[in-house]
Symmetry: C2
Subunit: 481 residues, 2 copies
């Protein structure tokens, strides 16, 4: 056969273009404060700038990079800006990005141990590291009955927990005979919407998700949970799962895990603890009291891709009884059979989540933990919490504003006393200005502003500027009233 | 507040370390043929080389990169080696890797249009590009009733298709009342295991998945499908979904879509077409006959992360009626409300898949399509198919070997005539030698070797070497018999 024509990028071209992309990212992070945080484009504006048809012939790489600058950047909402205070953070870091780049370069599939042993073993190892780092119970260690796995998102993690709970409650029948329409899952009114979505996906149905009432701190009322379970049992239903949250999305509320766990045990419910953002705080021993009772959980998840300097996606999920998960999700067709799997000596992570294929995600997490060290991570988490507490102090001391919820960590829920319309106007004007980006929620029916401190490079000056800008918009509003 | 202490990597440090990582990847790809393709480590070997505890203090970046070389590489099965012929390919490329690096650097969340408009609009645009590129029906265009979305894997894509089908069959009740245990899904005996897993996840249950018999080419028998549906209806069940495959994992069999579609329409079943690997072949008009009937599908997926030079993860999923999908998966909590969503003028992709969070995955796909151009992609796909056909020809002409299935594209299923033990020995010795990596399946109860040509840099010389090595092991076996 003859010499091969090739359209591929050669290693030397990759070297050259790769340096250019690295430099572009370094420059992007250096000038990130010059962009409006929230993209200012209108619907359809980005698409209108793109050619209607794909190119027949290849284009030079330089053109692609120029187009990212020219066509894509205007449509970016800058999650990596230190002036990003919206939602929950997505805080990337150099070691995380470069660990992920290595994962792309290796591009292995980790579905089975044998398809790349390092991909499985490093993941198990790093998730075992995190158990004592976060003060989690030993039963989550792979050397115990449990183990950890990296999922893409908390949505997928809670779906897996719910599925394992469903199967345990129905005695692993893998069908729904005898339990159809009878399975019930419990959350609070403040639990993340992913739980409701998971129940819909799992065929439990949104109607069979009970949203339990919360107290004045927006934490689940365990006595209300117990009452609802008893009512459901009397109605012939099959309560099977409850989710407690450490740091709800809306207001960072902390559910009382020990009391919820007591109810769960009494009624044989699976207890999942969702600490998607706030779990990172447990790196600091002084914040671990917020997750008191986590040793009673059947499963637990937190997302390093939110607050632990690890770019998306990376959601860590632990389970106390790994057999329950594997029994729920395992399928072994002939073309995946191999000696290592048959020996039982290895973990095959494809049985630990929804997907079959999986990326080498532990590389970036390993890089982040090693580059920062436990002390480096603790330093920055403490600093974020401190900055949020200072902000909360300013709100508390201001006669025009009020705090809308307790501030256990890095999220401040607050509002102008002039009511919903005023808060909406302040938020819209701030976001349109591009100076910062914050989002809202509703607490006790009132529109509430949320300021979440967690972006990698957010420092005192950014939080100070945010408060000054908020005050400024409030004063403008007062002047025009 | 005082100056800030920082453990972060500065942009200048990122530049320096980033160049080193890019160079490492370029070197890795240059010397990749020097590694054994299948990792030779034993279970536990990689973990044993890692420190038991995480570091308290941060470590220099250079140490991390050295450890990838020293501790991780031995545990890598080299999916990017041109001597990788196992499973389905995972074929990365320079433009794909660098597009993904930009995605990591921007690290935006694309859950809503407003959280980064470019992330949503580029994705819609590129998936619209692919519709004519692949000869897919116009109903899949976002300008029509349908639209495309990038999922992580085909497993998640088929789960979404099945969920939309389940909801349509039960009239979007979002619960299972009235249909519990009655929903039935249809696949063939050769359909990918992800369908069975999806049915378990969706609460349909493995017992309610019917594996329809196949013909001598391992393609689903439409008449057997029709008979099974009728029997299930007579038994009071609710047939709702059928999956046809273009290129099964086991043997690359092509299900007869037009006949399956006819049965599906008659009984009001949702028709999903799974073309995870082989869908890429449709870039070349001469291979499109393999997907005849795709215009009758309700949904369709293929994975650029398999055979289209795009690193994992990137699975493209189209649906003819996007409302069916959105109605199934939509949840809108207060903290995600925003003007763009309320206006109805935008796509919010979080309603198109299981997860809430989502990465800017279209960047890498855009880069691949633009860097290669349609002609460049076609060139390499044609060449892979040609190499597989030449290999099949050698097998056909060899008296010791036989083909075990038709070879429509780039996967050759073959076996030594001496039986299962001989084939197992040949495969084990080849894989242990590190010279190449291939895997097996069972067809008609017989162990069958699979050689899949699809790695980015696989050329004639690699396929020639593979055949020579296979012959060599066969001769050794004959000599020792």
């Amino acid at each position: 056969m003859s010499d091969e024509k090739s359209f591929h990028m050669t290693p030397d071209e990759f070297r050259r273009h790769g340096h250019a992309v690295v430099d572009w990212i370094a420059d992007y992070h250096s000038r990130i404060e010059s962009f409006p945080v929230l993209s200012q484009v209108k619907p359809g504006e980005i698409r209108a700038s793109l050619p209607a048809n794909p190119p027949t012939q290849g284009e030079p790489f330089d053109t692609l990079l120029k187009d990212v600058e020219k066509l894509i950047l205007p449509g970016i909402t800058h999650w990596q800006s230190p002036n990003f205070f919206a939602y929950f953070p997505s805080n990337a870091s150099g070691p995380g990005i470069l660990g992920d780049l290595l994962s792309s370069g290796l591009d292995v599939q980790g579905m089975l141990w044998s398809t790349s042993p390092a991909c499985t073993e490093l993941e198990t190892h790093v998730l075992d590291w995190l158990v004592p780092m976060l003060g989690l119970p030993e039963k989550f260690l792979s050397s115990s009955t449990g183990g950890g796995v990296i999922q893409d998102t908390a949505s997928s993690a809670v779906l897996c927990a719910l599925l394992a709970a469903r199967e345990r409650a129905t005695n692993y029948t893998s069908n729904q005979k005898g339990c159809n329409g009878r399975i019930v899952a419990y959350v609070s009114t403040q639990t993340h919407s992913s739980l409701q979505k998971a129940a819909m996906i799992a065929g439990i149905g949104a109607d069979n998700v009970r949203a339990i009432d919360v107290d004045e701190k927006f934490a689940m009322r365990p006595e209300a949970l117990a009452r609802q379970i008893e009512a459901d049992k009397l109605a012939g239903l099959l309560p099977c799962f409850v989710c407690a949250t450490v740091g709800t999305t809306s207001s960072n509320a902390i559910d009382p895990i020990p009391e919820i766990a007591r109810v769960a045990r009494q009624h044989n419910l699976w207890l999942h603890v969702d600490a998607a953002m706030s779990g990172t705080a447990a790196l600091c021993p002084e914040f671990r009291h917020l997750q008191n009772g986590v040793e009673l959980a059947d499963s637990y998840n937190f997302n390093p891709h939110k607050w632990m300097f690890t770019n998306f996606d990376c959601s860590c999920f632990w389970i106390a009884d790994r057999k329950a998960l594997i029994q729920t999700l395992s399928i072994l067709p002939e073309y995946l059979r191999n000696q290592a799997t048959e020996s039982g000596a290895v973990i095959d992570y494809r049985d630990w989540h929804i997907q079959l294929g999986r990326r080498f995600r532990s590389l970036k997490l390993w890089f982040v933990i090693r580059y920062y060290g436990v002390e480096g991570l603790q330093h920055h988490i403490r600093r974020h919490v401190q900055l949020a507490q200072i902000f909360a102090h300013w709100v508390r001391d201001d006669e025009d504003f009020e705090l809308a919820a307790p501030v256990p960590l890095n999220l401040v829920c607050f509002r102008h006393r002039a009511g919903d319309a005023a808060n909406q106007t302040i938020m819209d004007r701030l976001n349109r200005s591009g100076d910062l980006f914050l989002t809202h929620t509703k607490l006790n029916g009132k529109l509430t502003l949320r300021l979440c401190v967690g972006q990698t490079n957010t420092e005192a000056r950014h939080v100070e500027k945010a408060w000054n800008r908020i005050r400024e918009e409030a004063e403008k509003l007062a002047a025009s009233a």
